[in-house]
């Protein structure tokens, strides 16, 4: 007796807009935050948004090999993991030398 829901479809555009919103938030984090770790979080969020878009295309768009989007997403995740490890090690190394990780205080090329 329960009515079936009227809104019973997810168009491609909504998935892409979700990815765009996540990308925008990540961009804002990467551009505006003081702490280098928050900047890194923004970069990770942007990579995630890119993955959402890639998987949306792999699910919806005409392609001879539709799973290639997922393969690409896995490569993106791999690169993100490597990038996070190196960037956090950089943050720790910078903190050892400068005792700060605020990117607006790390403004000298030599110290």
């Amino acid at each position: 007796m329960l009515p079936d829901l009227v809104l019973a479809t997810v168009p491609l555009e909504h998935v892409l807009i979700l990815g765009a919103i996540l990308f925008a938030i990540g961009l804002y984090l990467a551009l505006a935050k003081r702490n280098a770790i928050a900047v890194l979080m923004g970069v990770e969020l942007m990579l995630n948004a890119t993955n959402v878009t890639l998987l949306a295309f792999s699910r919806f768009i005409v392609s001879p090999r539709p799973l290639d989007g997922q393969v690409f997403a896995i490569f993106v995740i791999t690169v993100a993991a490597a990038e996070a490890a190196v960037a956090l090690a950089l943050a720790v190394a910078v903190y050892r030398h400068r005792e700060t990780v605020n990117i607006d205080e790390i403004d000298l090329l030599r110290w």
């Binding site: 007796m1 329960l2 079936d4 829901l5």
Partner: protein, 451 residues
């Protein structure tokens, strides 16, 4: 007998397969004209309720089992006062924990502090969603079940870490750091050991892995003994159980990450450890021991009863190691993972891949191939373990070559020491090396044994 079976089969009271209840309810709902998605929701809710009921019962009973069995192993009685055989002791413990005041340090991070016990409990429960309890009794029959298990068991570390961080206590932080170090280390061998099984059965779906073992009539434990040992050790390190309970070592860091927790928040940590142990036991029972299948027994006994029996068999192994083994040092534990278990797991994967290739290329029948592989793999595991022990372990000697601990410690000069050492050297009771000038003499006394 067969008449009776034909009467009860596929009705809701056919307890051999508990999914009959949900399918009955679904057909009732379908007759009533409910839309398709409500059937999903109702089935999911029923399955979740069943799992949570099982978890609740297990968390109460396992406290009693654990304390009784460990007590018996250590020549104690264990709880035996409340109720028959002390069965009501966990209930009393739970009531006591609920009555206690929930303390929170003033400097603690409130949100993080309260979130940690919950975030620690949830992964242990939702791991059980992919475990098949019977031939068609998996709540979520995921195609990537093994990966799901690994992903969920890696989530608990973050919970423990934020719990230790949020309580703003140095012992809690020590415990959290140890958890992270252990988890990062032991994640690798546990993933690699399960990968060998995935290679062998050719699927990551847990139901299909059980079906593989049923089809070839052999539990994967016999074909893959080395991954069983590796996964057992690695998961007992991930579970913080006693050979590896460094994160909460009472005698070193006063309870570790839950040192600041009290009342039911502590109770949740305590229950979550038991739940995680049961979840890991369920995974081992599914993947290594064949889940609900046990030769011809599953035609007579309901599969989920066999499965629970297997869970408790594995759980007994965990209790056994807890009751008998002393705690490792943290560097020993980490070195053990990097130097022993990870290389062994890699070698095992190479061997399994070669075996699968041979099996595929020759097309030999499983009845010939699998027993041969079982023997070969067992011999390989034994050889590897003994060879590694010979190769990697330091030479055992009962006494250390040189006396440590004596000469290195600077003993502050006590007057009595000074007088005692001054007596034989100077030969006169009140010489220049008396109680004021005796700064050197304790040194002499302290270095005595090495000379």
């Amino acid at each position: 007998m067969s008449l009776l079976l034909s009467i009860i089969s596929h009705h809701w009271y056919d307890v051999r397969d508990l999914s009959n209840i949900t399918s009955e309810i679904r057909s009732l709902l379908g007759d009533a004209g409910a839309p398709g998605w409500t059937l999903y929701v109702v089935t999911a809710l029923l399955g979740t309720l069943g799992i949570i009921a099982f978890i609740g019962g297990v968390a109460i009973i396992n406290i009693w089992i654990e304390r009784r069995v460990v007590g018996r192993m250590q020549s104690r009685l264990g709880p035996n006062r409340l109720g028959p055989f002390g069965l009501l002791q966990p209930v009393a413990d739970a009531i006591k924990l609920m009555q206690k005041e929930v303390l929170q340090p003033r400097v603690a991070d409130g949100l993080v502090f309260s979130l940690a016990p919950i975030a620690f409990t949830v992964p242990g429960i939702i791991v059980l969603a992919v475990v098949p309890w019977g031939p068609n009794m998996a709540l979520a029959d995921l195609n990537v079940g093994v990966l799901y298990i690994l992903a969920m068991s890696s989530l608990g570390a973050l919970a423990v870490f934020i719990g230790g961080y949020g309580s703003n206590n140095k012992y809690a932080l020590f415990g959290s750091m140890r958890v992270i170090a252990m988890l990062v280390t032991y994640e690798i061998p546990s993933v690699l050991s399960l990968l060998g099984l995935v290679l062998f059965s050719g699927t990551m779906n847990l139901s299909d892995m059980v079906l593989f073992q049923q089809k070839y009539w052999i539990p994967l434990l016999l074909v893959q003994p080395l991954p069983f040992i590796i996964y057992f050790i690695a998961s007992s390190a991930e579970l913080n159980r006693t050979p590896a309970d460094l994160a909460e070592a009472e005698s070193e860091i006063a309870g570790g990450y839950h040192v600041e927790y009290s009342g039911m928040k502590f109770g949740l940590f305590y229950a979550a450890e038991l739940i995680n142990a049961v979840a890991i036991s369920a995974i081992i029972a599914t993947v290594f021991l064949g889940g609900w299948w046990f030769y011809r027994l599953d035609e007579i006994v309901p599969g989920w009863i066999i499965f629970i029996g297997k869970i408790y068999a594995v759980y007994f192994l965990f209790v056994w190691t807890r009751g008998t083994l002393p705690r490792f040092r943290i560097d020993q534990l980490l070195a053990f993972a990097w130097k022993w278990m990870t290389p062994m797991a890699f070698l095992n994967i190479v061997l399994v891949a070669a075996e699968i290739l041979i099996w595929d290329e020759t097309g030999a029948s499983a009845g010939i191939v699998l027993p041969i592989y079982a023997v070969v793999n067992t011999a390989f595991a034994a050889l590897l373990i003994f060879g590694w022990v010979k190769l990697m372990s330091p030479k055992f000697s009962r006494f250390p070559d040189r006396l440590r601990m004596y000469s290195r410690i600077d003993v502050p000069s006590l007057p009595a020491n000074a007088m005692m050492s001054a007596v034989p050297e100077t030969g006169e009771p009140d010489g220049s090396g008396g109680h004021l000038g005796g700064a050197e003499s304790p040194r002499v006394l302290a270095e005595g044994p090495t000379a």
